[in-house]
């Protein structure tokens, strides 16, 4: 029998998109019962986002949604109907944790402010993920992770010296939140275990994101922050960059920090004549002559594959690695051996790959217990089994169109 960390822990998720649902994946992958409350009236943005099975954009076809919904249950409910509202209240009473990642105010509009939740379930833990927090003048401002990348300063740190910044394509800031949010949510669960006290957690994507370059935000009179674009360079290392290799759009990262690593690099590269030039002998000289050094390193990497450069340099004790695209990642021997991908036969998506949790717990490993749900797949199961609703009542609600 598997040891599940969160066996018996019950979570109700009003939320959607990335940061909120991914936070709850931390619980679901370790055995919690997570019920995703959905409505076909307002489908999760991810349910309408690519990739779709056979490129058909139907509600159960999104691989993006499925990616973050493994190990969860789905219930559809129309909260605007009195009966739907009543069932939601029962789910709130059932839950240990209620989660929300809508725009601040939406939960209140449904009648589920923290104060109301406490009346239904006094020990409830409410976790709310939002762009800029539940309070303050910008709380209700709409936006997505790509926007917050700009607001949180992340976009300002990508680009080549003297050129324009370049945006990230992904909602980077969304994927930062779950690590912090899960840590503090589990802290709140443990605190409740000891004291019986629940609480509300207000998590702002902007505020979390700033942790990833906090040293540049420290402020004191006379502070100077260097915010020039730096490409792939590092102030105290050279060569330190991405070098083109043999093949179409193939690249390798090489980073040399110490003189010892430099000598190892020179030896591994076959003692190329230029590598003995004193202008590259020390860190200071390598930094001074970095652009020439980069050209020479690339002339060498161009003659071989990124994988060969990686193996050769790593063997010599130099940090190097092929730039991997998504195809490479799916075949990456390290990720494969660590069972970083969970593959399962999904009734809609076919053979589908989930990403495993990024750490391995020796005693209580995370697992794929169930596939990502179709919308409303577990409505009846949850109502009957978790809420103990009589079959007749469920059928009546179904007929009334409560579960849409």
């Amino acid at each position: 029998m598997d040891k599940k960390v969160f066996e018996g822990l019950k979570v109700l998720d009003f939320g959607w998109v990335i940061a909120g649902p991914m936070t709850l994946k931390y619980l679901a992958d370790y055995g919690a019962t997570v019920v995703n409350l959905e409505s076909s009236q307002h489908p999760d943005l991810l349910r309408t986002s690519a990739p779709f099975k056979d490129n058909i954009p139907e509600i159960d076809n999104s691989g993006y949604f499925a990616y973050l919904a493994g190990n969860k249950y789905s219930v559809t409910l129309d909260l605007n109907q009195p009966k739907g509202f009543e069932i939601a209240k029962k789910l709130i009473a059932w839950a240990d944790v209620v989660a929300d990642s809508h725009r601040p105010g939406v939960l209140e509009n449904w009648g589920f402010s923290y104060e109301e939740l406490k009346k239904i379930n006094p020990g409830v833990i409410l976790i709310r993920n939002s762009n800029q927090g539940q309070t303050g003048p910008a709380a209700k401002q709409p936006g997505l992770g790509n926007h917050i990348n700009g607001l949180a300063g992340i976009v300002n740190m990508v680009g080549w010296p003297g050129k324009e910044p370049i945006s990230l394509q992904v909602a980077y800031s969304d994927y930062v939140v779950p690590h912090f949010a899960a840590a503090v949510l589990i802290g709140a669960l443990d605190y409740r275990r000891r004291t019986g006290k629940g609480q509300a957690l207000d998590i702002s994507q902007l505020e979390v994101g700033l942790n990833l370059f906090a040293p540049n935000l420290i402020n004191y009179p006379g502070v100077k922050v260097d915010e020039s674009l730096k490409g792939n360079s590092c102030e105290y290392a050279a060569p330190h960059g991405i070098y083109r290799c043999k093949g179409d759009d193939r690249w390798c990262a090489v980073s040399v920090f110490t003189d010892e690593e430099w000598l190892a690099f020179c030896k591994a590269a076959g003692q190329l004549s230029w590598s003995k030039n004193p202008k590259f002998a020390t860190v200071i000289n390598r930094k001074k002559n970095e652009s020439q050094l980069n050209e020479l390193v690339e002339a060498w990497t161009l003659q071989q594959t990124a994988e060969d450069v990686t193996k050769l340099l790593q063997k010599a004790g130099v940090a190097a690695g092929a730039v991997e695209n998504t195809h490479d990642l799916c075949d990456d021997p390290q990720l494969k051996e660590r069972e970083c991908f969970w593959t399962a036969q999904h009734e809609v998506l076919g053979n589908f790959t989930y990403l495993a949790q990024a750490s391995r717990l020796s005693g209580t490993p995370a697992k794929l217990y169930r596939n990502a749900p179709r919308m409303g797949e577990h409505t009846e199961f949850v109502c009957r089994e978790f809420l103990g609703m009589p079959q007749e009542e469920f059928d009546a609600c179904l007929m009334e169109g409560v579960f849409i």
């Binding site: 998590i203 915010e227 990262a253 750490s359």
Partner: protein, 417 residues
């Protein structure tokens, strides 16, 4: 056990990490745990990382050290010595967590494998943060931030199509891994508290960054679409059509994109309404029915025709002007901020995000980014600045472990502490 309203008070963390792991202990410290940062008597390697206070490179003035070692106490200990290991064993007996980020195999060689630590304290949660994890063919690979970023997907899709992939210039891989390690350690903690069993947590930075490529893996697995670099555009998610994400304005850049579906309509309508009010819109855009926009069918030519006048409109305004008006109109447009913009951000000020922490050793007070979450019952608190080298040696070695001053003098002179 719980004396004050701090969610993790009463739990102790031994933090043996370097710059690859500081943030993990910092998160636990913010939550109220008693975090003891254990560093080499010569000073931790992360103290050499800039920027520095008043731009003075100094082991006691690294802002990198300051930022990620808040809320910790600090002691020095050379665990490569036998005395050092014996002292560490005594600390392990009373600890709830041990976190470390040494190269794989390093602690084993010192006789401090998880098996050994588990023997000393079966309830401990031990967390290791490494570039690629403790197992697999790359476990002994050296992994700098650049290398881990290269090998985990985000980099390949960042930058222009015809030039080298780009990283985020402030190193991210191990910050993501450390934050993840905090969550994973808390999972193990929760299990320990409910079952009595400790365990080992093996965190791979490569796998942590892998989460950042969003739908990249399913795009490949489901549709065999390879996510590629597209400069400041979004590409490959809906069709071959690129959508601009980053727009030049009068004094900088803004984040904005034309989004299809119900989520996009409101913003799209609002922006064209605003342009029309200003009389700065071509007729075809003024009359465009956003409900007909279908990103799956949108050709590049159609997209360019929508984006061109919007781009010209943005050029006439500053990022502050654009944000202010977008704010009023509920348009999803945000400025690309630098550190100064962020420090001036009204929302952060209104939420009292920034915290002032006294640095008596510098005779000043320094402002830091504050709590990563607002909690109604057990607020995250900021009690102390990052420790000076060996600052809490007397407190921990003398008062807690009961070592004598003469014993400490021996250990000091032999370089153990």
């Amino acid at each position: 056990m719980v004396n004050t309203a701090e969610m993790m008070s009463g739990y102790r963390v031994l933090d043996l990490t370097n710059e690859n792991g500081y943030l993990c202990g910092k998160i636990l410290g913010d939550m109220g745990a008693d975090v003891i940062k254990i560093e080499n008597p010569r000073g931790d390697s992360g103290r050499k990382i800039g920027p520095f206070y008043q731009q003075v490179p100094d082991m006691e003035k690294s802002l990198y050290w300051y930022a990620y070692n808040l809320n910790k106490r600090g002691i020095t200990l050379d665990i490569e010595t036998e005395d050092g290991r014996q002292i560490l064993s005594r600390l392990i007996k009373k600890a709830d967590f041990l976190i470390e980020s040494y190269p794989t195999g390093y602690l084993d060689k010192l006789g401090l494998s998880y098996a050994k630590i588990h023997e000393i304290n079966p309830k401990i949660v031990m967390t290791s943060i490494t570039p690629f994890g403790q197992t697999g063919p790359y476990k002994d690979y050296k992994g700098s931030d650049l290398v881990v970023m290269a090998m985990s997907g985000l980099m390949y899709i960042t930058g222009d199509p015809d030039t080298a992939p780009l990283r985020i210039s402030f190193p991210q891989a191990f910050l993501l891994a450390s934050a993840h390690a905090a969550a994973a350690s808390m999972i193990a903690h929760y299990y320990r508290e409910t079952s009595g069993e400790g365990q080992y947590v093996d965190v791979s930075a490569q796998e942590c960054v892998l989460w950042e490529i969003a739908n990249g893996i399913p795009l490949w697995q489901v549709n065999k679409i390879l996510y590629k670099r597209a400069g400041s555009f979004l590409s490959g998610r809906w069709s071959d059509t690129k959508q601009r994400l980053l727009w030049r304005c009068k004094d900088g850049f803004v984040s904005f994109y034309i989004l299809g579906g119900p989520s996009g309509i409101k913003t799209n309508q609002a922006i064209t309404k605003w342009m029309a009010e200003k009389g700065e819109i071509p007729d075809y855009l003024k009359n465009y029915d956003w409900r007909t926009l279908d990103m799956l069918k949108q050709t590049q030519e159609m997209q360019d025709r929508l984006e061109k006048p919007i781009g010209e409109f943005f050029l006439r305004y500053t990022k502050a002007e654009l944000y202010l008006e977008s704010f009023k109109r509920g348009i999803m447009l945000y400025p690309v901020c630098n550190a100064h913009d962020i420090q001036e951000n009204d929302q952060l000020k209104a939420r009292k995000y920034w915290v002032n922490i006294e640095h008596s050793e510098l005779g000043t007070t320094i402002t830091y980014p504050g709590a990563f979450a607002k909690l109604s019952e057990t607020p995250l608190t900021f009690k102390k600045r990052a420790p000076l080298i060996g600052e809490h040696n007397p407190e921990i070695y003398e008062q807690e472990l009961g070592m004598s001053k003469s014993e400490l003098a021996v250990l000091h002179q032999s370089g153990v502490i």
